[in-house]
Symmetry: C2
Subunit: 389 residues, 2 copies
């Protein structure tokens, strides 16, 4: 039995997750959840795609059946923008809402979080960039993910696009974790094929970066490994056959990965993905998929004491051979990325080569770089970008 990690991870840790509800058909519990948090007039944040797919209707009916009023807000786009958040804030105030429900992918949920920040603290959303800038507690939040990647429903992060600076700002605070994370995996049934793959690669990046983070502990490692196992068993089948049980496993993988990274934080993949997403408004999961193999290659020399634990978690009988463990991990990663159908170069998603130095510079200021297992300067980050180009 290999339990390398139990002795290597001796430092102090904190672990926090919201109340979690998970299960097929559970979206009809959003009303009772919002009511239990003291809500009377709910601010429901979602998007047009989910409205057309019928899921917003399920949530609305549940709210009504729980005797609650609601205001529906769907002015949210992928990579949610500062002005969408400010408009939502004004709507919330003008209607006197009291509880926020976010239903959707990372965009709707992060917009819901950002609106909650402004409701409690005023100001501009840019004022809260960085670590622990929020001083007053948010109104109650229920977040219902409908993709298999973001982890926003459990995380202490919110990512918003600053449209003037054309960059993503990362807000990190325990306050932005919701009160309740409510996942109904049935909602994946209407998620387009392409987004099943790209959001699952986001969960893959969360799990990998969380596992190798300098802030990882046994409390986060068990969830990171479980996420990777679920992805390994179900990603390919979910993308190609869309069986409900495989889609549920992807939902579950996203939840486990979210529980891991919210507490152990991330690394270079996300530190680079945020400025790229800010500059190009590109799909976050696709960016991660492109960067992940290069960053893992960069990290591996300094995380050798954790390779066997992970290889073992992925079903490999490691027997103390570290390089075999590293190969097993790379293989698993490659086959998952292939199964996801995600793109494999920055060029293919429209990144301009001349922007790479600026992207490397911006990544140095992203909070995610703090927990990277291997330090990186601007030159290191630029080399990773060039390899992924």
């Amino acid at each position: 039995m290999e339990d390398h990690n139990s002795n290597s991870m001796m430092h102090n840790c904190k672990f926090e997750v919201p109340e979690i509800i998970f299960g097929r058909g559970m979206l009809n519990q959003v009303g009772p959840c919002a009511r239990r948090l003291g809500g009377r007039k709910i601010f429901l944040v979602s998007d047009k795609g989910l409205f057309d797919a019928g899921w917003v209707d399920v949530a609305m009916r549940s709210l009504l059946e729980a005797g609650l009023e609601f205001i529906y807000y769907d002015n949210v786009t992928p990579n949610p923008k500062d002005h969408e958040v400010h408009d939502g804030f004004k709507e919330y105030i003008s209607h006197g809402a009291d509880v926020i429900v976010g239903l959707g992918g990372g965009s709707a949920m992060d917009a819901a979080k950002a609106i909650a920040i402004l409701v409690a603290n005023g100001g501009r959303i840019q004022d809260f960039e960085g670590h622990d800038k929020i001083t007053r507690p948010l109104p109650p939040l229920v977040l219902c993910p409908t993709t298999c990647g973001t982890g926003s429903d459990v995380s202490q992060f919110a990512i918003i696009n600053d449209t003037q600076r054309r960059c993503k700002i990362t807000i990190m605070s325990r306050c932005v974790a919701p009160d309740i994370s409510l996942t109904d995996p049935d909602t994946l049934a209407t998620l387009p094929d392409e987004f099943v793959g790209t959001t699952a690669t986001d969960a893959l990046s969360h799990a990998m970066e969380a596992f190798f983070s300098v802030a990882s502990t046994t409390l986060t490692d068990v969830h990171a490994i479980k996420a990777l196992r679920l992805l390994t068993s179900s990603l390919s089948a979910a993308v190609h056959q869309r069986r409900p049980s495989d889609l549920e496993n992807l939902s579950r993988a996203s939840l486990h990965a979210g529980m891991a990274f919210s507490n152990s934080l991330l690394g270079i993949v996300h530190a680079l993905a945020h400025p790229i997403g800010g500059l190009y408004d590109a799909n976050h999961g696709s960016i991660n998929a492109i960067l992940l193999p290069e960053v893992i290659r960069y990290d591996i020399p300094v995380v050798t004491d954790k390779l066997q634990e992970l290889a073992w978690g992925l079903g490999h009988r490691a027997n103390g051979d570290i390089s075999a463990a590293g190969e097993k991990i790379q293989e698993t990663l490659d086959s998952l990325l292939e199964a996801s159908g995600a793109p494999s170069s920055l060029r293919s998603i429209g990144v301009q080569r001349q922007d790479l130095p600026e992207l490397a510079r911006r990544a140095l200021n992203d909070i995610c770089i703090v927990t990277s297992p291997r330090e990186a300067d601007e030159g290191d980050l630029l080399r990773i970008l060039e390899r992924a180009y």
Copy 2:
């Protein structure tokens, strides 16, 4: 790769854990924690052994340095009694305390929880026996475990001895989970050898029963398996050599097991251990150690679809052979129990043979039996008791 459980555990689930802080030397954070929860006058529940070992002093100094007053209450004995809880409640009220800190094993922490129940709800502690009988939220609670078994610091349970009926009452409610679980594994350094072994067998029972519970999910399984792995790697060394890193692993195992069972609940071991503990005031970990092999033997025929997942978690390359997986689990269990030094018969801890039928009858009414993977009537329970006698 075997991931049997991911497909067999498809039902809806809830998962809740308090904020967790874990690390050597962290007991000096109890003051800032109590302060953050709004405390000014802290009701500190502990016991004489911990006072003599110096740990109460560490907590007191931390409270004072955080600018907090405190009232110290140590009228708590193993298997905490109803009258100790009622006396503590009166002390709390007469001093106008506002936050409760429980420092100790399951006894001090369960007493702290029970005092908190009475502070908020009045009445007798017996009024809250069973599931969800608490109507008003408790004052803020910080629980600091100093053994490696109870899991009370994360759990939704409190167990109190009804001295008139000579039975343990089980109180189960989300309200009794604390606000903060704060573990300082250094406190194990002063725990007598005997209690290292017996409280670790309590964690062992929690992990095993949680894993096989009908309410288990992937969210609880990962923690149950991690607890078992940590026990396997460190129990024997912790008991015999008392290395700090092994003791820390036992602390960590207890925390993982607590996160599992608080959400998946338990089974026949605990359903039987509660009436035995109530009737004989015997050590809870020892009772569990005696019952566990018999209960696992009873359960195994109905949990075959989970055996390989667990055997794999314990380092066994299962290859689809269910009976080999079962053997691996029994072997691991036997060697852990042997390493713990726990007793192996009910007779040896003073249980009277003529009481067995009454104990079986009482176990049928314990809430823990509800999640047993295999149903059991009075005759089944009596047979388990007789085999363990």
